[in-house]
């Protein structure tokens, strides 16, 4: 009787236990997400393709002005985005910021308005939160096909709003 039961048990197909493997994969996943989250600049717009550079400087957390590419989802138009919010559209045909949207030929009105609001918030938080305050640092995340005329408009506007420390986001590559 006992022998028969043992034989029956031996004949049973052995089920592969995936639980331990599952644990390992979950650990790797958590670790990867943690590493991934370390980068202060997250580019979620697929239309933004950064240029490559031999720079050694690392990105730090600051205000991000993004100049999206021509393949942007909304109306297929490139746009100027500040901290995830579209503030101005760039004309798709001429690839210029419309003249009506500017002052002095360079200063983009809505962008300046948005940056001044951020500056005000940063100055207000200076006394309330430790290690915060207005630094004047701004990161420009631009698609590699953005023309110089749009870039200069954005730089002049940022400078006019008081943000004088520019950093261009690039993809690091070996020299």
């Amino acid at each position: 009787m006992i022998r028969r039961r043992r034989r029956r048990q031996e004949e049973k197909p052995y089920a592969l236990s995936l639980t331990s493997l599952m644990d390992i994969v979950t650990n790797i996943l958590v670790y990867t997400i943690k590493i991934f989250a370390v980068s202060p600049i997250v580019i979620q717009d697929p239309s933004v393709e950064l240029p490559h550079s031999t720079t050694k400087e690392n990105a730090e957390e600051s205000v991000v002005v993004m100049l999206t590419g021509i393949r942007a989802a909304d109306k297929g138009m490139p746009s100027i985005v500040v901290d995830g919010k579209v503030v101005e559209w760039i004309d798709k045909e001429t690839y210029r910021v419309p003249e009506a949207a500017k002052n002095n030929g360079y200063v983009i009105k809505k962008l300046k308005q948005e940056l001044l609001a951020i500056k005000k918030n940063q100055k207000q938080s200076a006394g309330l939160i430790k290690d915060s305050g207005f630094t004047g640092r701004i990161v420009i995340v631009a698609d590699k096909n953005t023309p110089y005329r749009v870039l200069v408009d954005v730089l002049v506007t940022c400078g006019d709003a008081g943000f004088g420390n520019f950093e261009f986001a690039v993809v690091k590559q070996e020299a």
């Binding site: 089920a15 995936l18 639980t19 493997l21 599952m22 994969v25 979950t26 790797i28 996943l29 990867t32 997400i33 590493i35 991934f36 980068s39 600049i41 580019i43 950064l50 240029p51 490559h52 550079s53 031999t54 720079t55 050694k56 400087e57 690392n58 990105a59 730090e60 002095n104 360079y106 990161v139 631009a142 698609d143 590699k144 096909n145 953005t146 023309p147 110089y148 005329r149 870039l151 200069v152 730089l155 002049v156 940022c158 400078g159 004088g164 420390n165 520019f166 950093e167 261009f168 986001a169 690039v170 993809v171 690091k172």
Partner: protein, 145 residues
């Protein structure tokens, strides 16, 4: 008695949860995240604010600057403020900038101007060519035609 046996057998025959599809999803997530983090190491290039007053304003604020080297990116090549014209070759530009740096070792600043159609990618390559001889890069608004 027989009811209790039936329950035990039912427990023994309870199917294990199917975790293989979930494993596949997790593996894919790990691969995608690893790929993205490995291929997109984001860095930055520091630049200075453009001055609406042009080169004169730059000289007024920093009197110790002697050269105020300007690089103009044209459609066909590069024009430097010392009058030299170079073809659109980043190695040639770099060689010329090394030559200038040897003459003016104190100089750290370079001012960039470009044709309005010049793309950002090209500007980045010019900034790369200027580094590390000229760490401070400034932009000057205006159109080079």
């Amino acid at each position: 008695m027989s009811g209790r046996f039936r329950n035990r057998r039912a427990l023994e025959e309870l199917p294990e949860p199917e975790i293989l599809p979930m494993m596949n999803v997790l593996f894919m997530l790990v691969m995608v995240l690893m790929g993205m983090s490995a291929f997109l190491p984001i860095g930055v290039i520091s630049v200075q604010a453009p001055q609406l007053g042009g080169a004169g304003a730059a000289t007024a604020t920093e009197p110790h600057q002697e050269l105020n080297l300007k690089i103009m990116i044209l459609k066909t090549g590069f024009k430097l403020s010392d009058g030299s014209l170079l073809p659109k070759n980043f190695s040639a530009l770099r060689a010329k900038l090394i030559e200038i740096k040897a003459k003016y070792p104190q100089e750290k600043r370079v001012i960039l101007m470009a044709d309005p159609d010049t793309i950002y990618d090209e500007i980045t390559h010019v900034m790369d060519a200027a580094r590390p001889m000229f760490d401070e890069v400034a932009f000057m608004p205006g159109e080079v035609l």
